[in-house]
């Protein structure tokens, strides 16, 4: 109950930011946590992820399974600036990553970059003091190559949609431009047009173009960069550099059939860490992480194992963990992760990221 109360408070506070643009925040804007701001601090369920959100705004909540009696202390917000600005050169095909001849633009994902900010509280492993972390991150898809059949799918569905628009246009009412009372004529036209368009709502969507966003890419190269500062003893002046990281992830997706995929990831990451204490002094260390992930997807379930080897100034270490994801529906999914994190101390990964829409089932709850 306490958790639910906190979630409501957090969602409401975010609504204040979001309503400046949109007027409402729906529960479907809450996502499982894989933003770079979380990943930088090794607090994400997985260290190897692809940017998968096309949402304008998303909120992530995360809690450790060990602390399941406490309120969640870690939050991240992520937004995609693309959705907040007008673009006079934008077309549907450009947005989908194709030119007018249906040739794919491999760098199309760059414009959909997202910015994330995370607030993470962790206890210091030595003093057990509470450390407040704030991190900011940017991620983007740098290269994306789709399966050949996807181009055919886009062409077919796009042509169908244009044909449909022509047919819609033919049945539209006509505005009486010669009426003496122009205001009344406009009102009547708007009303007839509204009724005509509402009738179209009952017809099943003829075009299925949005499905292309959910189709797995044949190959993708993604990049992310993140920076973190931390505070101790709840004191603003204690602000210190925490971490800086930049990483690239390549992903190849083997499609067995529409429901079964085998995804292979390879990643490389540079990390500068300033959180370690030696002789009561914070020191800075450089890490280079290399590793990979094998993911098996079947329908709504995905199982993966990832391994990252860290080359450090002092002693090399590794992270090894398994991730289980279950997509309850298009808007709701559940992510769990268990394994060993980097280092020898405090290295248990036991995370559960819940899309809190789970609490409301299929219901669409609008908080205003």
């Amino acid at each position: 109950m306490k958790k639910l109360l906190l979630i409501i408070i957090v969602v409401f506070s975010c609504t204040n930011i979001y309503t400046q643009k949109e007027g409402s925040l729906t529960i479907e804007n809450i996502e499982t946590p894989n933003s770079p701001a979380f990943m930088l601090l090794d607090k994400a369920p997985s260290s190897i992820e692809r940017p998968n959100s096309t949402k304008a705004f998303a909120l992530s909540l995360i809690n450790s399974l060990e602390n399941n009696t406490e309120l969640p202390k870690n939050y991240a917000v992520e937004f995609t600036p693309f959705w907040f600005f007008k673009n006079k050169e934008m077309t549907a095909l450009k947005y989908l990553g194709y030119d007018k001849n249906y040739n794919q633009n491999y760098f199309n994902g760059l414009k959909m970059f997202s910015i994330s900010m995370a607030f993470i509280n962790t206890p210091d492993s030595i003093t057990n003091q509470e450390i407040s972390n704030i991190s900011i991150g940017i991620r983007a898809n740098i290269i994306s190559i789709r399966h050949k059949e996807d181009s055919k799918f886009v062409k077919k569905e796009y042509d169908k949609a244009v044909k449909n628009l022509k047919a819609i246009n033919e049945g539209m009412p006509i505005l009486d431009l010669e009426a003496e009372d122009q205001q009344k004529a406009k009102k009547e036209y708007d009303q007839k047009l509204q009724e005509y368009l509402n009738a179209l709502d009952n017809i099943d969507s003829i075009s299925k173009l949005s499905e292309i966003q959910n189709k797995r890419l044949l190959f993708a190269l993604d990049g992310a960069i993140a920076y973190n500062s931390f505070f101790t003893e709840n004191d603003f002046s204690s602000n210190r550099f925490g971490r800086f990281g930049a990483w690239l992830t390549a992903n190849y997706s083997y499609k067995n059939n529409e429901n079964t995929y085998l995804n292979i990831y390879a990643t490389g990451r540079y990390l500068r860490d300033g959180t370690a204490i030696v002789n009561d002094e914070y020191i800075r260390q450089d890490f280079y992480d290399v590793g990979g992930k094998l993911e098996f997807e079947y329908k709504k379930l995905s199982l993966s194992y990832e391994y990252l080897y860290r080359i450090a100034d002092s002693e090399d270490t590794y992270r090894s963990n398994g991730v289980l994801k279950y997509k309850i529906n298009d808007k709701i999914s559940l992510t769990g992760s268990f394994g060993k994190n980097f280092g020898d101390n405090d290295n248990l990964i036991s995370l559960l990221g819940i899309n809190w829409g789970f609490l409301t089932g299929e219901e669409k709850t609008v908080l205003k």
């Binding site: 989908l96 007018k100 431009l177």
Partner: protein, 132 residues
């Protein structure tokens, strides 16, 4: 909102162009509405987008007191349902007229030119421009 473009009463050629910016699939049709309620379609967009390159509408003397009605229909089936409503506010529609007494003139669409289906998937922009 109705707009007015002064074309004069000479043999000068009037041209029109339409530029649409949206992530949705757009289709634009330009009608010439003459007195008597007669609407004739004079141009439509290509299949690639809702844009119409500059084209000749006719001589000013023949067009006087008629209307150009530019209608753009946008289908947001390219994006998720959660974005339909907000992307309606990010549509760019620019209408350019040339050759009249006002010279090169650009108009944007107005809020009251927009009508959308109740779920927000289909959006229609109707812009009437009176030629005087």
């Amino acid at each position: 909102m109705k707009r007015v473009y002064e074309i004069g009463n000479d043999i000068n050629q009037i041209s029109c162009a339409v530029k649409i910016g949206t992530v949705g699939i757009a289709y634009t049709v330009v009608y010439l509405a003459r007195s008597g309620g007669q609407w004739s379609q004079i141009k439509e967009s290509s299949t690639n987008n809702g844009n119409i390159r500059s084209f000749l509408v006719g001589k000013a003397i023949d067009l006087r007191d008629s209307y150009l009605v530019i209608r753009t229909i946008i289908d947001f089936s390219t994006i998720g349902e959660n974005l339909w409503d907000e992307q309606k506010n990010n549509i760019v529609a620019r209408y350019n007229l040339k050759g009249g007494l006002l010279g090169d003139q650009s108009y944007n669409h107005d809020t009251d030119d927009i009508t959308s289906s109740s779920n927000g998937k289909i959006v229609v922009i109707t812009k009437p421009i009176k030629l005087i």
